[in-house]
Symmetry: C2
Subunit: 202 residues, 2 copies
Amino acid sequence: MGAPMNLAPTGNPEAAKPAMPVRVPIKHCRNCGIAVVYRLPDDGDTRERGVCPACDTIHYENPANVVGTIPMLGERVLLCKRNIEPRWGKWTLPAGFMELGESLSQGAARETDEEAGAQIEMGDLFSVISVVRVGQVHMFYTARLLSDQFKPGHETIEARLFREDEIPWDEIAFRTVRETLRLYFDDRRARTLGRVHAFDLN
Amino acid sequence: MGAPMNLAPTGNPEAAKPAMPVRVPIKHCRNCGIAVVYRLPDDGDTRERGVCPACDTIHYENPANVVGTIPMLGERVLLCKRNIEPRWGKWTLPAGFMELGESLSQGAARETDEEAGAQIEMGDLFSVISVVRVGQVHMFYTARLLSDQFKPGHETIEARLFREDEIPWDEIAFRTVRETLRLYFDDRRARTLGRVHAFDLN
């Protein structure tokens, strides 16, 4: 997973408040270690960046992608009980931060392996959700489980299969996971799987 | 646009070579300025990160999103002639790095305004392309132009409308733009617009 998923937890009243993502400001230059100054760069950029007064390095900060899967075995979906904060003990689809050197689907497959130890055949992109408040984009792929044997990693207490009516909706860790699960089972019921759902959450 | 689009230019033989994205390594801690050490963090992470030996800050580096639009006026698409490197003088769809505090579609709309000064009605997500070699994901939305009057920004020499048979295919700046344009006009001809195209380029 890499960094913690610093997400608006389900039901948090703060989640409705749009704002710039809270990031720890850059204090020192990554290149030379001198204290940076937040200002408009000299290249016509319209946003303040951390600029180094010594070596002129400009420090860009951009949203990060979280990638995961909806691993299905027949009518059942694989969920993981989180062994890490935030939302320890809550259930999630296997997902984590996309890394350099991999594609979106490769990252989703890697996270499914790391968190659930599940063998899958990757399917199609299903949901693309901008979570503006935390500076993230969450993307989930459909996936077909090749076995009902799992080997949860250290970030997972338990990996278990759920039918739709067994899903612990009030114990889902993140809104993007809950929305993705709802849309997936809705599409499955309506036989409209194949669409990509792209939307925003503040 | 923010940072330069450090992309594999069209036709570059290097583009076929899969490799870790070339990023300038982090030398100093963003929090305290001390020289970082690349090593496995102590939290079970399986990738080497820049770790600060003084304050323990872990420096994560992740792929960035580039967002843009396919702005259409009837049968014609709006392209921008680049006034910046890389690929100065080549043609592109309006696109640039997604910023903190905005969604994918908001970023795509902003870039269309900044680079072309074009008034649009945003449409649907159309293409999602992982460009592994440079650590980027490029996403394009369909868009309907509300006017044929443009006000190109400082990053654009010229903004002009092209019918499909007028597109300067050999003068397109980036592979993701060329692929997106081809797929868009193919789908338009086949009356299959509405699908999202998600794939990888090395």
